[in-house]
Symmetry: C2
Subunit: 150 residues, 2 copies
DNA sequence: GTTGCAATTGCAACGAGTTGCTGAATCTAT
DNA sequence: ATAGATTCAGCAACTCGTTGCAATTGCAAC
């Protein structure tokens, strides 16, 4: 990842504005996230960065990801696979319905969550951060027989 | 066992109906869940059961809890504390808003999630299992431009 | 009561993620 | 460019949770 990725500067600024230091490790984690399309696990990021910088430590990756999530630059999601998925925020937000039986995941448009988000803000004064959400349950095929069936 | 709890029979039946065996370990895990009020971690359950039955293994607790969750008898929630919370389903379902900054948790009535649940069923044919949900974000006090200014 | 078989347990080893500590690096001010 | 203050990286050890395997147990049929 020796190439400057579009947005590097922006991400650097975001770190600075939050009072965080800009370190090579952080930039490399960010670059890895930008290089990968969609979700990445911490380990995928770890491996990708280590191709160029083999001294990076696992805990650094995790700590960096935690900071980025706090900042709202990165979204974490537990899709129930035993590993968390990380993703740069900034693209179109989307979410997932995960079937607990067959494992299928259905993509969910963000607008479906808007009413809930609005209500939480109004009634509870709570700013829900649902950048990349996972909702568990049963997909159509795995449901017993619908509401009327048995 | 000294821990006969109201509902033991019902829970036994539920296991049987699901084709699962009724084992002392399972009943003890269930009894522990019934004894504890509200959420319990796997370790709390483990410790509680081991007071009477010191030979119980950790993995048995986890596997039992997994089965119970599959059956819908128990709800798991990750409140972001690094440990999962388990709770017997059957009481009034409730959920939590968790502030990522100060850690405060606000209880959320189940009815707030009904519209979302209904829409997921209608539009996606997906039966969301939200027994005990955690939604992360920022509470009123921790929001940059809150009512009292930032 | 005994038998047979599948489900379940315990064990040990593993994988993901976290934490306290110390030396190193970043940033600010000069 | 340098010094000082403070954050951050790397390490190692730890916790929570999972998994493969062999021995055991629950349950139903005899």
């Amino acid at each position: 990842m020796s190439g400057e990725v579009q947005g590097d500067k922006t991400l650097q600024d975001a770190l600075r504005r939050a009072g965080l230091r800009v370190t090579p490790q952080r930039m490399m984690v960010l670059a890895a996230l930008a290089a990968g399309e969609g979700h990445m696990t911490a380990d995928e990021i770890f491996d990708l960065v280590r191709r160029e910088y083999p001294f990076l430590n696992r805990s650094t990756v995790y700590r960096t990801l935690d900071r980025l999530v706090e900042l709202g630059l990165v979204a974490v999601t537990d899709l129930g696979e035993g590993v968390r998925q990380y993703e740069l925020v900034g693209t179109q937000p989307h979410h997932h319905l995960v079937c607990q039986r067959c494992g299928e995941t259905i993509e969910l448009a963000d607008e479906v969550l808007q009413p809930l988000r609005a209500r939480l803000q109004e009634d509870y004064g709570f700013a829900a951060r649902m950048d990349h959400f996972a909702i568990f349950g049963l997909c159509r095929a795995c449901q017993p027989d619908g509401p009327t069936g048995g």
